[in-house]
Amino acid sequence: MKVNIILFGQLTDITGADTVTLENILDTDNLVSTLHKSYPAFIHSKYVIAVDKKVISENTPLLNNCTVALLPPFSGG
């Protein structure tokens, strides 16, 4: 499956874009390992993964049309 990932904050400095698209992704563990291969700088980045606007804490299967976002530490306020 093809997954569009939206990126925020300092993570956009790594990719130079607000979104990246990865191919052949089944779940979030799979997404992370593919991402780390394409963009090694992510290995040392702090971020959490949100699937459909909910932060996940364990491997999560990705369905068609789901929204995946990578969120670096928040700094609002």
Binding site: F8, P72, G77
Partner: protein, 147 residues
């Protein structure tokens, strides 16, 4: 638990002091209110590597932030006897000395408003997907980290 709809909390640029005054004035007809608690976040001109922060540029994951803020609001209303709560957060550029966050809670007796305001601010800082980019004079920047 009421069914409040997710409200937009984001405003473009700084929050004007006059707007805060007007928001306060709108509560004069709510004569069951005895206390208002307000927190304002202001952009500091911190020195970082000998350069002062000129402004912070805020961005958000808006769909998630509004959903999260709705969840925070419902939790605060169910925990404290509030009359009302208003939250505004800046997006885009906010200069040093300008206001980027406005949290406003009201209640019949002061304690509920004060405790609710403090807890809402903590939850906004730790749970809302918002990012601040600290901008310097020489076009350089640094991503802010909340302590």
């Amino acid at each position: 638990m009421t069914d409040r709809k997710p409200k937009n909390i984001f405003v473009a640029g700084p929050i004007a002091p006059a707007f805060i005054g007007e928001s306060i004035g709108h509560h004069a007809s709510k004569t069951n209110i005895g206390g208002h608690s307000i927190f304002l976040g202001q952009v500091r001109a911190d020195m970082i590597n000998d350069q002062p922060v000129k402004a912070i540029e805020y961005s958000t994951y808006e769909a998630m932030a509004l959903e999260k803020m709705h969840e925070i609001r419902e939790a605060i209303f169910s925990k404290y006897a509030l009359t009302c709560m208003h939250v505004y957060h800046s997006l885009g550029r906010v200069g040093a000395g300008e206001i980027s966050l406005f949290v406003f809670t009201s209640s019949a007796h002061r304690k509920a408003a004060m405790d609710a305001c403090a807890e809402t601010v903590e939850r906004i800082k730790s749970e809302l997907p918002v990012w601040g980019k600290e901008l310097f004079d020489n076009e350089s920047y640094q991503w802010k980290e909340n302590k």
